[in-house]
């Protein structure tokens, strides 16, 4: 409960209107301010190093000699050089450590030390300090009670955001309603009301919310983060809530009915720079326009992946002829050396394979030419004799590579060098034109250094002993 003191010192300004203190008490309040800023973190409600806590009047009195600063331990400690072991607050070395842990320990300023000395000089009166502490405690009790109500009755988690962790450098509250299950009604809104001006984050994700709740919610001038996702809220309800959240920076609306009214409300919130708009009726184009000028802003919709998953062409497909020469088989590469059968056609006596434009061709022993138009799944006879060609890359280095290939790959006169991704070259034996073509047994892919990256031959692959191959970037029947 005593921790409240600290909190209240931070919140005193916002919790209930306080009478301005009489001028005589100013000095006392200044001293209290010095003590709370520089001493309470070690000698206060949380810790009492050396058994001392300076948020209690008796203990304050134990370290001062009214009227005599020179004999006052408090003053002596404040005035010692930083290098002295007894200097308070402790020296820089540990304050760095503390700063990293989120506690700031600044040395008191000269003016602050003077106010303490002056206060001791005038007799170290404590009546105003005591009154302030009592008032703190009383408001803290009230606040605690309303927060307890909030959490107990409504299933909210209330967490304090320390000033040093807060975006605007002021302490505030985070209220998380996600984990309760009852309908949030007017009572919930009224409980929120008590700390409305200090709510920094409000999470209502997935909760069932009554209209009363919205109407009764207070204006939240410091609300930065608002989570409304999965509430299925109506457009107007969202807009009315946004009207009470003028300082909003982060807003999550996914899976709500947010639409035109919400959009109009959003236009007025200039501080907003992160919006989750997936699964809403908010128009993407207009939101993008709205966010265009806001630096570092984030707008989230669904980002679908391209249909063509594989950059630079999908898994390699091969059109092959089976050993008996009775079937054409389409294979899909499963790994560099493994293939799955995608489709088979009963096309016998195939002598040559080729492609031209948007079609694949085979020539049978009878001289008949069949055509498979891309995107179709059946071969049809065609009268045309296609003139097909491939881009030939023929450099001295590639000729060298060619010479290094096994004899079986050099047995025919024609060769084709197909450029592949990342400087690789596919060396395949194909023909130019369908006339006089011969089906070849293998092909090989090499990189610039001549390292074999991929080989395709009939050895141990499906179907055993297959005789030919045409490399395709994707499934031609799709």
């Amino acid at each position: 409960m005593k921790t409240l003191l600290l909190i209240l010192l931070g919140f005193a300004s916002t919790l209930g209107a306080q009478e301005p203190p009489p001028a005589d008490d100013d000095l006392q309040l200044k001293v209290l301010d010095v003590l709370s800023t520089h001493c309470f973190s070690c000698h206060g409600p949380d810790k009492q190093k050396s058994g001392l806590r300076l948020d209690e009047i008796e203990e304050i009195e134990s370290v001062v000699e009214p009227g005599d600063p020179a004999l006052s331990e408090l003053v002596r400690r404040l005035l010692l050089p930083v290098t002295d072991d007894e200097s308070m607050p402790p020296p820089k070395e540990s304050s760095e450590m503390e700063a990293e842990m989120g506690v700031s320990w600044e040395r008191p300023t000269r003016a602050e030390v003077w106010s303490v000395i002056e206060w001791v000089q005038v007799g170290a009166p404590t009546d105003a300090i005591a009154a302030a502490l009592r008032e703190s405690q009383r408001s803290a009790d009230q606040l605690a009670e309303s927060l307890q109500n909030l959490s107990r009755a409504l299933g909210a988690r209330v967490a304090r955001i320390e000033a040093e962790n807060a975006i605007d450098g002021r302490a505030g509250f985070e209220i998380d309603f996600r984990f309760g299950r009852r309908l949030l009604d007017r009572r919930a809104a009224e409980a929120v009301d008590a700390i409305g001006s200090d709510i920094v984050e409000l999470n209502l994700a997935g909760r069932e919310l009554s209209e009363e709740f919205f109407r009764s919610l207070p204006v939240m001038p410091r609300l930065l983060h608002l989570r409304l996702e999965r509430t299925g809220l109506e457009d107007m309800a969202i807009a009315s809530l946004l009207a009470k959240s003028p300082a909003l920076e982060v807003l999550n609306l996914h899976s709500t009915e947010a639409g035109p009214a919400t959009l109009s409300a959003l236009v007025g919130i200039r501080s907003l720079n992160e919006l989750v708009a997936f699964d809403t009726r908010l128009p993407r184009g207009e939101l993008e326009e709205l966010f265009a000028g806001r630096e570092g802003s984030v707008l989230r919709f669904d980002e679908s992946h391209p249909d063509d998953l594989f950059p630079g062409g999908g898994p390699r497909h091969l059109l092959v002829v089976d050993p008996a020469g009775e079937r054409l088989v389409l294979l899909r590469e499963r790994a560099l050396t493994h293939y799955d059968t995608v489709r088979e056609w009963s096309v016998a006596d195939v002598q040559a394979l080729g492609r031209s434009g948007d079609a694949l061709f085979v020539r049978r022993a009878s001289g008949e030419v069949l055509e498979l138009k891309l995107g179709q799944s059946e071969w049809r006879a065609t009268e045309q004799t296609p003139a097909w060609s491939t881009e030939v890359v023929d450099t001295p280095r590639l000729r060298e590579l060619w010479e290094e290939l096994p004899d079986s790959l050099q047995s025919t006169a024609s060769r084709t060098l197909l450029p592949m991704e990342e400087g690789r070259v596919l060396i395949a034996q194909t023909t130019v034109g369908l006339e006089g073509a011969e089906i070849v047994p293998a092909m090989v892919e090499v990189d610039r250094d001549g390292v074999v990256r991929w080989q395709f031959s009939d050895e141990g692959r499906f179907p055993a002993g297959l005789r030919a191959a045409l490399v395709l970037a994707g499934d031609p029947t799709r």
Partner: protein
């Protein structure tokens, strides 16, 4: 600054804990520390039923719980555990040189289940690598969906673990030690941060349909911590949690009456034995089970998801349905405040997991085929819902695999704990980066090497905890997940 100096245990404010220990109450210090450090705000974090604060939950002032100096933190972790050890050189660690030596026996030192060897036959690359995303990351054709997520992912290619044997390596990855009996990382996270949702477990484990990993529950144990912090196994088919549904005879408030009576007796019993965490844990588990009867079915009800979402996770296809359900469940659980969700890909033995000793192509096509789309779907779904920033996703196995074959024939690779890849996404991780390197064949980590502890330190740090401060007093020692020697987070991947 050296770690000792930073550690709060070297500051003079340790007296309270010492006092407790000196008073002979060491075993009870967690609960007592919790009660004594009675920060009212923490204490007010109660559930809807109005239960008192959880004494096992972290009180703000406990000197054992040290928060990292970070303002934006991950709230939950989804750890996708690829049991068996996925091959880094065939997935995310592109090694063009492997092709050059394909089939050749070369000098390379390895240490796998077959012991230490100084020579091996190189198994060339089996999958094409392509560049994805703005960062141009090379990803193999095993993960075409995940490839499109690389700009949200930080890859760490230079992990090493302490053991190349599954059992001990799994414990290493899950608990930080190769020996049994230590709490797993999900327990540490829940110990450090407390539960968000009192109606669900804070730590959930989902296993592969073929069974659990080797050593089973030791991988999600709470070790020497209270049992309330251990992982709860969630099933994706049938009842999510076994024996959770009350029998018919307990209908109509009978169960509540029984529980109230039990609680009364237990509380009376506890009153005579103050500060007994085991007793308190038991009381709380009864209540948790009761509340879960209504909360868990809703959390795991995938029928509430749209068809589009189900398809995104691959629920429409037999191959990806099972793992996809788990990924989708994981998202629903973190939405509902579960701190740590671990999902296993692979279980049982041999090719039921990523342990590709025989046919690498068969094995990895199988497991990548089952997980690629669901994982990519999870990342994309988290992102579009604004959850990726607060949800840390971790992918990896207990180790990687060797560039060389294990046997004279075939493509199988042996275990490799000297160098392997894991990746992290979301939760404060910088996307589109790759850190660390293995040698040219991927046989061991050589640049910016990271121990498994560094992964743990990174996870704790991202959750807002100080890995070198978070400790639990047991056996006369301030035990830490990262060990008393400590470990730093991987700073290169922090946003």
């Amino acid at each position: 600054m050296d770690d000792k100096k930073r550690s709060p245990f070297h500051r003079p404010d340790r007296s309270r804990r010492e006092f407790l220990w000196d008073a002979g109450n060491g075993f009870a210090s967690v609960a007592l520390a919790g009660l004594l450090g009675n920060n009212w705000l923490r204490a007010s974090e109660t559930n809807a039923a109005g239960d008192a604060a959880n004494p096992l939950q972290t009180p703000g002032a406990d000197p054992r719980i040290v928060h990292a100096p970070r303002t934006k933190t991950a709230k939950s972790v989804i750890f996708l555990f690829m049991y068996g050890g996925p091959s880094h050189v065939d997935t995310f660690d592109y090694k063009p040189e492997l092709g050059r030596y394909d089939g050749q026996t070369i000098d390379v030192k390895t240490f796998g289940r077959g012991g230490k060897k100084s020579q091996g036959r190189v198994v060339g690359p089996k999958w094409r690598f392509r560049r994805y995303g703005e960062c141009g990351k090379h990803v193999s054709d095993l993960f075409p969906h995940l490839g499109h997520c690389v700009d949200d992912i930080a890859f760490v290619h230079s992990f090493y673990a302490e053991s190349p044997i599954h059992g001990s390596a799994l414990l290493n990855m899950n608990t930080g030690r190769i020996l049994s009996g230590h709490p797993s990382i999900g327990s540490w996270v829940n110990y450090g941060l407390g539960k968000l949702n009192e109606d669900l477990p804070g730590y959930v484990v989902m296993l592969d349909e073929t069974g659990g990993p080797i050593s089973g529950a030791k991988n999600w144990t709470s070790g020497y911590m209270p049992a309330a912090l251990q992982g709860v196994q969630l099933r994706t088919d049938g009842p999510p949690i076994l024996d959770l549904a009350p029998p018919d005879a307990l209908d109509g408030g009978v169960q509540r009456a029984v529980l109230d009576r039990l609680r009364e007796e237990n509380t009376r019993h506890a009153a005579r034995r103050p500060g007994n965490p085991d007793l308190e844990a038991r009381i709380r588990q009864y209540e948790l089970a009761y509340r879960m009867q209504s909360a868990a079915p809703e959390a795991v009800d995938l029928d509430r998801e749209t068809e589009e979402t189900k398809e995104l996770y691959g629920l429409d296809r037999a191959e990806t349905r099972n793992f996809g359900r788990k990924c989708l469940l994981a998202r629903r659980l973190v939405e509902r405040g579960v701190r740590f969700v671990q999902v296993y890909s692979g279980g049982g033995h041999n090719d039921d997991n990523w342990d590709a000793h025989g046919d690498l192509v068969f094995n990895h096509n199988r497991h990548a085929g089952r997980t690629d789309k669901p994982i990519a779907g999870l990342l994309r779904d988290l992102k579009r819902r604004g959850l990726l920033d607060e949800t840390l996703v971790v992918w990896g196995g207990e180790f990687g695999r060797q560039p060389t074959a294990e046997y004279a024939e075939g493509t199988g690779r042996d275990h490799n704990s000297w160098g392997f890849t894991m990746w992290l996404a979301g939760g404060g991780v910088r996307g589109g980066v790759s850190v660390g390197e293995t040698d040219e064949l991927g046989s061991k980590a050589v640049r910016d090497r990271f121990h498994v502890k560094n992964l743990h330190a990174t996870i704790l740090h991202l959750m807002g905890l100080d890995p070198n401060g978070l400790s639990y007093f047991f056996n006369g020692l301030d035990q830490k997940l990262v060990g008393v020697e400590g470990a730093q987070p991987i700073h290169q991947i922090l946003a």
